[in-house]
C-alpha cells in the first residue's frame, strides 16, 4: 500500500524535526506513481504534487504521527479538499427544473437518469418527469421507459417525435402543464469528436435551458477523461458530474481529474446496477480509494 511504501521512504528520517525537501521529494515520487496507477490525469498529478510539496516541506514532524503518516495525511486532506471543495446542492428552484445528462457511450446515463429521478422523488419528495431523448441507440427509449415503470417513476415519450430537440421541447411543455418539479433528460452517448452529435447536444441544451448539466462518467475512465470532459464543457454549461460503476475496484482517479479540470463537483455516484444503488458523493471516501 502507499502507506507501506512511504514508511520505507521515511525509515531513513532520523532526528529531523521537520519534513526535509529530500524526504518529501522521495515521498512524492511514490505518491505520483500511486495517483497515476489510480488513473488520475498526468497534468492533474503534476499540479497536485506541487501543491502537496508546498504544504509538506518544512512542516514540523508531529509526535503523534510518523513522518510517512504525516505526508499521507497531507495528501488525503488535499485530495478531499479538491474533491469536495465546490460541492453544492442541485439547482432545483425553477419549476420545472431541468437536469440534462450527457456523456460518452455506455457511461451510465440512462440508468443514472432513473436513479436520479428515484433519489429526488424519495429523498427530496419531488415530482419528477423522465424524458428519453436518445434517438440513436436501439431500444434506448424502451430502456428508460422500462426502468421508469419498474420503479414507479413518470416518463414522457412524446408520440411520433423522432427529433431529440423536439422531444425535449415537448417534454418541458408537458412538465410545466402538469406541475412537475423536475425534468430529467437522458441523451444519447456521443464522442466529443463527433461534431454532428456535439451540435445536437448543444441544441438540446439551448432548447431545454437546463438548470443542471451533469457529465456522466464511468469510474474506470483513464487519462482521456480530461480531453472528453473539456470538450463537452466547451459546448455545454456543465454544472456537475455523476461518477458511475463505483461498485467495482477501479480506483476512480477520474473523479480528481474532473473536479480539477472541469472545476465542477462530482454530485452523485452509481454504486450498482439497480436503480436504488445511487448516493451523494463522499469526497473523503473517494480520496482513500484513489490512494489505494
Amino acid at each position: 500500500s502507499l502507506s507501506d511504501r512511504l514508511q520505507r521512504v521515511f525509515k531513513e528520517l532520523r532526528g529531523e524535526g521537520h519534513l526535509t525537501e529530500f524526504h518529501v521529494d522521495e515521498a512524492l515520487k511514490e505518491i505520483r506513481v500511486a495517483l497515476l496507477e489510480a488513473d488520475v490525469h498526468l497534468q492533474v498529478v503534476k499540479d497536485f504534487i506541487a501543491a502537496v510539496r508546498e504544504r509538506a516541506v518544512g512542516q514540523e514532524v508531529l509526535t503523534s504521527f510518523s513522518p510517512a503518516q504525516q505526508v499521507v495525511k497531507i495528501v488525503q486532506d488535499e485530495l478531499t479538499r479538491v474533491l469536495g471543495g465546490k460541492a453544492e446542492p442541485l439547482a432545483l428552484k425553477k419549476r420545472p427544473a431541468v437536469i440534462l445528462l450527457v456523456g460518452l457511450q455506455g457511461s451510465g446515463k440512462t440508468t443514472s437518469a432513473a436513479k436520479l429521478a428515484l433519489h429526488l422523488k424519495t429523498v427530496l419528495k419531488k415530482q419528477v418527469l423522465l424524458v428519453p431523448a436518445d434517438v440513436h441507440r436501439p431500444a434506448a427509449t424502451e430502456q428508460l421507459l422500462t426502468l421508469a415503470k419498474e420503479n414507479g417513476l413518470m416518463a414522457f415519450n412524446p408520440k411520433g417525435e423522432t427529433d431529440a430537440v423536439a422531444r425535449v421541447k415537448a417534454a418541458v411543455k408537458e412538465a410545466k402543464l402538469f406541475g412537475y418539479d423536475v425534468t430529467i433528460v437522458d441523451t444519447a452517448g456521443r464522442l466529443h469528436v463527433d461534431l454532428a452529435l456535439m451540435d445536437e447536444v448543444a441544441r438540446i441544451a439551448e432548447a431545454a435551458s437546463p438548470d443542471e448539466v451533469l457529465f456522466v462518467a464511468d469510474a474506470m475512465t483513464g487519462q482521456d477523461v480530461v480531453t472528453s470532459a473539456s470538450a463537452f464543457q466547451a459546448r455545454l454549461p456543465l454544472t456537475g458530474v455523476i461518477l458511475t460503476k463505483t461498485d467495482g475496484d477501479a480506483r476512480g482517479g477520474a473523479a480528481l481529474s474532473l473536479s480539477t479540470v472541469v472545476g465542477r463537483p462530482v454530485k452523485f455516484v452509481g454504486i450498482g446496477e439497480k436503480v436504488k444503488e445511487f448516493e451523494p458523493f463522499h469526497p473523503d471516501r473517494a480520496a482513500s480509494r484513489i490512494l489505494g
Binding site: 455506455g106 426502468l147 466529443h192 474506470m220 482521456d224 467495482g248
Partner: protein, 278 residues
C-alpha cells in the same frame, strides 16, 4: 571504440508522458522507455525519428501474440461468447460480428443471454431485425444458462455455422455474476463439444488501468481467447492492452470504431503502435 550515443533525456521523458497519456500505466511506460533507451544506445544514434520508430516497433512486438490455434467446431456450429463489464460494447460488437459472418455467407444465430438489464433483449432484437438474423431469447429475468442451452439446441437443429452469445455486463468484482458466467460457459460446452470456441472480452478504449483487473478476472471465470477494443473512434488510446497482453498472452482480435454494423476492424498492431506514439 565507438562512443555510445544516448537518446536525449528530454525526448525520452516526452515519450514516457505520451505513453502514460495513452493509458499504458506508469510501470509499463517506464519499462518501454528503458527498452528504447537501451536499443538506441546499441544503435548509436539519438535521432528523434529513430527513437520514435524504436518505440513503435517495441510496442508492435509486444502486441504480436500468436493467436492460440482456434478451437475448431467439429462439424457443428462454432460458438462465440461476448463478455465484459457494463457498457463496454458487447451487444453492439455481437451485432457487428454477426453482420460480418452473414456478409461472408455464413448462417448466424444470436442468443440474447442478457436477461437482466432493462431492454437488453429489445436492443439485440433491433440489431437482429436489421441484419435479418434470428434471435433466441426468453423472457426478461429468465436464467441466462437456459437461454444458452436453447440457443445451442437451435443452432444444432438448424445447422447454423455460427452462434453468438451476448451476455450481460458485469463488474469483475461481483463473484456471483462471474460464477454465472462460468456456468453459462459450462452449459454451452455440454451442449456443443468445444463450445464456446471463442470468448471475446470486450474492453472500452476509454478504460484506464482497471482493464487489467477486468482481463484477469474474466480469464479466470470464463476463459478469454481474444480481446475487442471498442470506441477507438474516440481519442482514448487503449494502452492498457499492453499490460493485458503481456500478462495473459491473449491477442487483441478486433477494434470497434463506431456504432454501425460495419464499424469493426481487425486489430493492427502497427497502426495501434503508431497511434499511441503519435
Amino acid at each position: 571504440v565507438k562512443a555510445r550515443v544516448s537518446a536525449d533525456p528530454k525526448a525520452l521523458e516526452a515519450l514516457e508522458e505520451a505513453l502514460i497519456g495513452g493509458d499504458v500505466g506508469p510501470a509499463t511506460a517506464s519499462e518501454l522507455v528503458e527498452a528504447v533507451r537501451q536499443e538506441v544506445g546499441r544503435k548509436g544514434s539519438a535521432d528523434e525519428g529513430l527513437v520514435r520508430r524504436v518505440l513503435r516497433e517495441e510496442i508492435e512486438r509486444r502486441l504480436s501474440v500468436p493467436a492460440p490455434a482456434p478451437a475448431t467446431a467439429s462439424g457443428g456450429p462454432r460458438v462465440l461468447m461476448m463478455v465484459g463489464v457494463n457498457g463496454s460494447g458487447k451487444t453492439t460488437t455481437a451485432a457487428k460480428l454477426a453482420a460480418r459472418a452473414s456478409v461472408a455467407g455464413r448462417s448466424v444465430i444470436l442468443a440474447a443471454a442478457d436477461t437482466f438489464r432493462a431492454a437488453a433483449i429489445e436492443q439485440l432484437e433491433v440489431w437482429a431485425g436489421r441484419l435479418g438474423i434470428p434471435v433466441i431469447k426468453h423472457r426478461p429475468g429468465a436464467d441466462p444458462a437456459a437461454v444458452v442451452h436453447d440457443a445451442c439446441t437451435a443452432a444444432k437443429a438448424r445447422s447454423a455455422d455460427l452462434l453468438i452469445i451476448d451476455t450481460a455486463g458485469r463488474l469483475q468484482t461481483k463473484h456471483n455474476l462471474m460464477e454465472e458466467l462460468s456456468k453459462i460457459r459450462r452449459i454451452a460446452g455440454r451442449e456443443i463439444p468445444g463450445a464456446p470456441h471463442e470468448v471475446l472480452l470486450v474492453l472500452d478504449a476509454v478504460s484506464g488501468l482497471n482493464g487489467l483487473s477486468q482481463a484477469r478476472e474474466f480469464t479466470k471465470s470464463s476463459g478469454v481467447t481474444g480481446l475487442v477494443l471498442t470506441k477507438m473512434d474516440g481519442t482514448a488510446k487503449g494502452g492498457v492492452i499492453l499490460a493485458i497482453v503481456r500478462e495473459l498472452k491473449v491477442p487483441v482480435k478486433y477494434v470497434g470504431v463506431g456504432e454501425t454494423a460495419e464499424d469493426l476492424l481487425d486489430f493492427d498492431a502497427g497502426a495501434f503502435a503508431e497511434a499511441i506514439v503519435n
